[in-house]
């Protein structure tokens, strides 16, 4: 307790002292690297200018003026791409619902995340800058997910993406198939799983109707119910459902429930999506795909195939990739796309599936996922082609700030591993200098 409290206070003071505005006015220009902007053709030799935490210019070197006050960083021979977006991560030791029941949409994972977890540093070492941190799949609804930006942070609050009203952004984690089947009160079959979910959504519909009819009249307004409130957010499409599903029939069940209740969903993992790619395409629902080194490990993943990404691309399904960290290592997220390409996905779509496609699934496409003027300056500098095993993430920037530098011995430890690479990070380096500030350091 003591250990975590005191650094947290120190970090807050850091933020007050240095705050996001500290770096805001400095401009940085990355000059001469190959630029992979995503969604537009690659630039063999480009310049990316960032200012005030956002991207100010992207273009060919010869046609992109560098502001006089900008720090110039020569990235000739290197590759620049947007910070990676992981649509499905479990970094930070967060927990969702407990063993009391299968449907717990009131539970928020943001109330349990340890931002000092070394996993966050490993994410930055892999070029990840935006995560959807999810509770597990052992429930039909295990709780609310949270979208985070990997800034240097003292508490989870510093990492949150927020809506215009300041509310944290996130979705609702749901699951079907075998993981959520266990002893009562959990379901024992797939039919029971769907019935429990439908029952809860029916209640949420009634709750929503009562709220609507009450029209703010305190006499008629129903008591607040956090579970139903979260589901109303889903029904009103303020929250998207991030749905764990592997088997083809489980995928189709999600589509059926979505059709019945009219919520937005992303299908996650989808080991058997290759069997029902056209049905998924027809529904317009996107898939966030896991790429594993082999099938099996559990019955649902028995028919896992590396071709899923390629098949979904062919069928026209919006497709992202994810780490499911710790199932795959965040430091190797680029590898996930490379293996999808190995099995037939196009290079262009595979790179998009690490970035912009994921950003769209989180509703963050206006802020992240590509190197475009006005978007957040989340930039990854690579030593070479993103799909090569030899390529290293050299630097990661979040909102224009350097948050990972492979030349820094401590950062290198997280990138490569070694003694102490999994330990929680202390606050000892907090406030020691303008670029080494905060709890993530």
């Amino acid at each position: 307790m003591k250990r975590t409290r005191i650094p947290a206070l120190a970090a807050l003071s850091c933020l007050v002292l240095v705050g996001p505005a500290g770096a805001a006015e400095t401009a940085t220009a990355f000059i001469g690297g190959r630029v992979i902007p995503i969604g537009r053709p690659e630039l063999p030799a480009g310049t990316v200018v960032v200012r005030g935490g956002t991207i100010a210019a992207v273009g060919p070197v010869e046609a992109t003026p560098v502001p006089a006050d900008a720090e110039r960083i020569d990235v000739t021979g290197m590759v620049l791409m947007p910070g990676l977006v992981d649509t499905h991560s479990h970094v930070g030791g967060g927990q969702g619902g407990d063993g009391s029941g299968p449907v717990q949409p009131d539970v928020r994972i943001l109330d349990s995340i340890n931002v000092r977890d070394a996993g966050f540093r490993k994410c930055l070492a892999g070029g990840l800058t935006t995560l959807n941190i999810m509770p597990g799949s052992g429930h039909l609804a295990s709780g609310q997910t949270v979208y985070v930006k990997l800034r240097r942070a003292g508490t989870i609050d510093d990492l949150l993406y927020r809506d215009a009203a300041g509310r944290p952004l996130g979705g609702l984690k749901m699951a079907n198939g075998t993981n959520s089947q266990k002893d009562p009160p959990f379901p024992g079959t797939r039919g029971k799983s769907a019935a429990l979910v439908r029952q809860k959504f029916v209640k949420a519909l009634a709750y929503r109707d009562k709220l609507a009819k009450a029209a703010g009249d305190p006499e008629k307004i129903p008591d607040r119910d956090l579970e139903l409130e979260a589901l109303v957010d889903v029904l009103e499409k303020r929250k998207i459902v991030h749905h764990h599903c592997h088997r083809a029939d489980d995928i189709i069940t999600v589509l059926r429930l979505r059709e019945e209740f009219g919520f937005d969903a992303v299908l996650h993992h989808v080991s058997e999506a290759w069997k029902v790619a056209h049905e998924i395409a027809k529904s317009g629902v996107g898939c966030s795909v896991i790429v594993l080194d082999s099938p099996g490990g559990k019955i649902e993943a028995a028919d896992f195939s590396l071709v899923t990404g390629a098949m979904l691309e062919q069928a026209g399904v919006p497709t992202a990739l994810h780490t499911d960290d710790p199932v795959t290592d965040s430091r190797l997220f680029l590898r996930t796309a490379a293996l999808a390409v190995r099995a037939g996905m196009s290079r262009e779509k595979a790179l998009e599936s690490l970035t912009l496609a994921g950003a769209r699934m989180l509703g963050l496409q206006d802020r992240v996922g590509s190197l475009e003027v006005g978007k957040d300056a989340d930039v990854v500098v690579l030593s070479g082609d993103p799909l090569s095993v030899q390529t290293k993430v050299l630097r990661t920037y979040v909102e224009g700030r350097l948050v990972f530098d492979r030349d820094d011995p401590q950062d290198r430890l997280f990138a490569v591993g070694g003694f102490g690479a999994s330990r929680d990070q202390k606050a000892e380096s907090c406030c020691n200098g303008p670029t080494k500030v905060g709890m993530m350091r």
Partner: protein
């Protein structure tokens, strides 16, 4: 369209295997494998080389320009040809892909010490993960009882072919699997009342059992036959260890557990092979002085949170290799998803983290074969060795390269790009 084909093929694996076995080349047939580069692992790479395989054995290896090729022989061609890959430690064949009780035979947690358990009696040559590994060029695996009990049983070396284990096996017993550290603690119901409950207890139990085997050996050779003890399979197995016939394969990740393994080897003058060894980089000098080889953990093995592999590094293979310690790489043991790793990928990542291309390739071919005791048969493309080869359409370690052909004993097992 080829993608759809290969996905359908996934469902039809048992059939595919049968067809390949039935339809494979007969022993007398000749296969010529030609590569833009042939990595023989028995000398420098050969540009535009050929490997001639006859009756399952390599008959010639050399430059295409100067190596006679029998007319009319079946030919396979690829940008890069390597020996069939050797996975130095796996549990595939005992630990099935479904991960359900009925296909998990890699560990019997009831007793802590069971060196008499033979891998041979549990290996399922129809296991689907065999085909998966083979698809990426793996032709030989050292597999068997898993880490997770103090002495879990024996390991063996098999080819990834054959309808029965007898057809597949290269070495019926290769090593005896020992685990030190947290994973050796007793498991299951009432685990807290069972031994070993601590590291010291585990080592004490192992020492006691080895001492018992020493006594057994002494009494078995008593002049008075009536005083000789009855045959005891458990002690027979440990007797082979004491006789240095079978090494102990000691899975240990923490530095102090690795040190315990070296101490045991020294006390009993037995052969050991260190396995996984996440913190081995802390003990480089001691491991080198002991002359012990290390089958390094899968490069991508997870660090976990606060577990025994929390200090794992991508660079361990390179660190040990540079120190002159014999190493090999492995797919390891996975208890969940993915059910197995692929040693080709593990070597690729090691090659991206300090291991040279040549050393990384050796760690999954000839060096692995040496450590698991089958280098007379596999691991390099040399005349007289088994006709096992892997074909690639580029640098085998690159993520986007495909394995385009796999040959075992001169039989073409697979030509689908993977």
């Amino acid at each position: 369209m080829s993608r759809q084909r290969s996905s359908r093929r996934l469902q039809a694996i048992p059939l595919t295997v049968c067809l390949l076995v039935a339809g494979g080349a007969t022993a007398a047939e000749t296969l010529v494998v030609r590569g833009g580069v042939v990595h023989t692992l028995a000398g420098p790479p050969i540009a535009d080389g050929v490997v001639v395989i006859e009756s399952g054995k390599i008959r010639a290896v050399g430059p295409a320009a100067t190596t006679p090729v029998p007319p009319g022989a079946q030919q396979l061609q690829a940008a890069v040809v390597t020996p069939g890959l050797v996975d130095a430690h796996s549990v595939v064949g005992l630990s099935g892909y479904l991960n359900q009780p009925q296909d998990q035979d890699q560990l019997d947690p009831v007793e802590a010490i069971q060196p008499e358990l033979r891998a041979l009696d549990a290996y399922n040559p129809q296991e689907r993960l065999i085909e998966w590994l083979r698809g990426f060029g793996v032709t030989t695996i050292h597999t068997g009882h898993a880490p997770g009990a103090l002495v879990s049983g024996q390991t063996m070396v098999v080819k990834l072919s054959g309808n029965t284990v007898e057809e597949a096996v290269l070495r019926p017993t290769a090593m005896v699997a020992v685990t030190l550290g947290d994973a050796a603690r007793a498991q299951g119901p009432d685990a807290e009342k069972k031994s070993p409950g601590t590291r010291s207890k585990a080592v004490a139990m192992l020492r006691s059992e080895l001492v018992k085997a020493q006594e057994y050996l002494r009494k078995r050779s008593l002049a008075d036959e009536s005083k000789r003890p009855d045959t005891d399979l458990r002690l027979e197995a440990l007797a082979k260890v004491l006789a240095r016939e079978w090494p102990l394969l000691v899975t240990a990740d923490r530095a102090h557990d690795i040190a315990s393994a070296l101490r045991l080897a020294d006390e009993f003058q037995i052969r050991i092979v260190l396995d996984s060894a996440a913190e081995s980089y802390l003990l480089v000098d001691r491991i080198k002085a002991a002359g012990v080889p290390v089958i390094v953990h899968p490069t991508m093995r997870r660090a976990g949170g606060g577990g025994e592999t929390e200090n794992i590094s991508f660079e361990t293979a390179a660190t040990l290799d540079k120190a002159g310690i014999p190493i090999a790489l492995q797919s390891g043991y996975e208890s969940y998803v993915p059910k197995t790793r692929v040693v080709l990928f593990e070597a690729g990542l090691a090659a991206a983290h300090g291991l040279s291309f040549a050393d990384a390739l050796a760690a999954i071919t000839i060096d692995a074969a040496r450590i698991v005791g089958v280098a007379d048969r596999v691991g390099s493309l040399e005349v007289g060795k088994d006709g096992d080869a892997a074909l690639f359409d580029g640098d085998p370690f690159e993520y986007t390269t495909h394995c385009t052909g796999v040959v075992i004993d001169g039989r073409v097992m697979n030509t689908d790009p993977r």
